[in-house]
């Protein structure tokens, strides 16, 4: 890759990185519909749906939980993220830098980059399960932590190496393939659901005459409720609702999508996120969960959550292709984003080398099936980790002036590390972890009180911190 290629790639992704978006660059509503629908129908959906079934979810809890949780996620984008994004029109990182200072943003980048690596690792794991169908090696089980066969190790390394090299060389090409594949992938997911449903109907010669019969099939055979599989947490309506609300917490409440909505002409365009939620996090999760429920129906002892075999049983080679493309096209930008996050820490390093190293870390993470098999917990942890900074941005924009405090304090006082924001982050995480550890609150729920803790802490800490540093103001 030439330096010119690097700079072209970088400039296309970091356009208007340190300035307000000009009017000529604003985008229409349709752009956001396409972007959200494509981005949220990914390889990991093939893990999450089955993991709901493994968690012993009931039909009503699943459907109602997803309907409400996804609605709350859309509302979070509409009322928390987009209003700030369309008013300030800055990237998340630039806005954070103005609030927190460069050094604290570097720390945030590091945390973000590491989480991106693990997420990409889970996506590599998903893609590698498709190779298992072709080459018939032993694949990991639901409760496996470590790789359990040499075939698995080789498959993950091959998939990870290809994804990493492509991410380093040709981000644009893969982004284009992802755009082309997105409508196809959405329909393949829908086909998974229809095929799985028919397989269930035929399995016990069920007679479906009306919607009532279908609902009976759903609650008695597909999502039966009851005890979770060994090693899994029992999922109720509340678990499903909070999970679907918070699984993209880093993006809405955590404010990552400020970088997206800075391009929106109107803040209500955030309603486009519903396309992603109800296609990817409703239809795709339900479809994937039907495939896994059918596997358990055929053989209750076969608890392995392996998207490759699941998809192959339903749709043959198209299913396998869907697993590979879904994992690949989402792991690729994730590795690239992680590379960018790490490069921000070492700006002089080559993005090419950093992306390759990042891909290597993601591949190493992908070797361990525990990340993918515990994806529900990991996603909740990811949201929780970045949530406090979202609260800091929210309070900084809406409340600081009302309390006679300075917004964008780091920029105004020319400091590199805003301790009020830093301590808010660390203390909120410590509080959340203590609540999980000692108060018995599960990780799926703890981010809600955590957001209020972070908001209150940032106001209180800023009051003391800004008072002592008023002499620095320019």
């Amino acid at each position: 890759m030439t330096d010119q290629d690097h700079s072209e790639n970088k400039s296309s992704l970091s356009e208007f990185e340190r300035q307000k978006i000009p009017d000529r660059a604003l985008l229409g509503f349709r752009h956001f519909i396409g972007m959200y629908a494509g981005e949220h129908c990914a390889g990991t959906e093939l893990m999450i749906g089955p993991l709901f079934v493994a968690a012993g979810v009931g039909a009503f809890d699943l459907i109602a939980g997803l309907l409400f949780g996804n609605a709350l996620a859309v509302l979070s984008w509409i009322f928390l993220t987009a209003p700030i994004g369309t008013r300030l029109r800055l990237t998340l990182y630039y806005q954070l830098e103005k609030i927190c200072g460069r050094k604290l943003v570097t720390l945030y980048n590091l945390a973000n980059g590491v989480m991106f690596c693990f997420l990409a690792g889970a996506m590599i794991t998903v893609s590698a399960t498709a190779l298992g169908v072709w080459f018939d090696f032993k694949m990991p089980g639901l409760n496996d932590i470590f790789p359990n066969s040499i075939g698995w190790v080789i498959a993950v390394i091959v998939v990870g190496a290809v994804i990493s090299v492509v991410a380093a060389y040709g981000y644009k090409t893969v982004a284009r393939i992802a755009n082309i594949a997105a409508p196809w992938m959405v329909l393949v997911f829908l086909a998974f659901g229809l095929i799985g449903l028919k397989q269930f109907i035929d399995a016990d010669d069920n007679q479906i005459q009306n919607a009532g019969d279908l609902w009976t099939l759903a609650r008695t055979q597909i999502w039966k409720g009851g005890d979770p599989l060994p090693g899994q947490v029992k999922f109720t309506f509340w678990h499903v609702m909070f999970f679907s609300w918070f699984c993209n917490m880093a993006m809405h409440i955590g404010m990552s999508d400020l970088s997206v909505f800075r391009y929106a002409k109107r803040s209500w365009y955030a309603i486009a996120s519903a396309a992603g939620m109800y296609v990817g996090h409703f239809m795709a999760w339900i479809s994937a969960s039907i495939l896994y429920a059918y596997q358990l129906h055929l053989n209750p002892a076969d608890t392995d959550v392996l998207p490759g075999p699941l998809a192959f049983r339903a749709a043959g080679y198209v299913g396998l292709l869907c697993v590979i493309i879904a994992g690949w096209t989402t792991a690729n930008p994730t590795i690239y984003r992680a590379g960018l996050a790490f490069q921000a820490i070492r700006p002089r390093s080559s993005l090419f080398k950093i992306t390759l190293i990042t891909g290597g870390i993601a591949t190493f993470a992908g070797l361990f099936p525990a990340i993918a098999m515990k994806l529900l917990d990991f996603v909740a942890l990811y949201g929780m980790l970045l949530m406090p900074m979202g609260a800091v941005i929210f309070v900084d924009y809406w409340l600081m002036k009302k309390f006679k405090l300075y917004p964008f304090f780091a920029e105004k006082s020319r400091i590199n590390f805003n301790w009020a924001a830093g301590l808010t982050w660390f203390l909120t995480l410590a509080t959340c972890l203590l609540l999980v550890k000692f108060a018995g609150i599960q990780i799926f729920f703890v981010s809600l009180p955590g957001w209020f803790v972070a908001s209150a802490l940032y106001l209180i800490l800023s009051w003391g911190y800004q008072k002592r540093r008023a002499y620095l103001m320019v």
Binding site: N179, I180, A191, L194, K198, G316
Partner: protein, 59 residues
């Protein structure tokens, strides 16, 4: 000419997406076997990936 090609590829792409989904719906109603569904989906997939790059507008 380029425009005509793009529009034709776009229409064929759209048809391929319909062919992709239709067999699974017909399978649900018992009108096709699963093997037939898998082959039709494979054909539709090939058609989509051949046509879509020409049919989709550059953004």
């Amino acid at each position: 000419m380029k425009n005509v090609l793009r529009k034709t590829a776009g229409i064929i792409g759209l048809v391929s997406l319909i062919i992709l989904l239709l067999p699974s719906a017909l399978f649900l109603f018992g009108d096709l076997s699963l093997e037939q569904v898998k082959w039709m989906m494979l054909g539709a997939t090939l058609l989509w990936f051949v046509c879509a790059p020409f049919g989709m507008r550059e953004r």
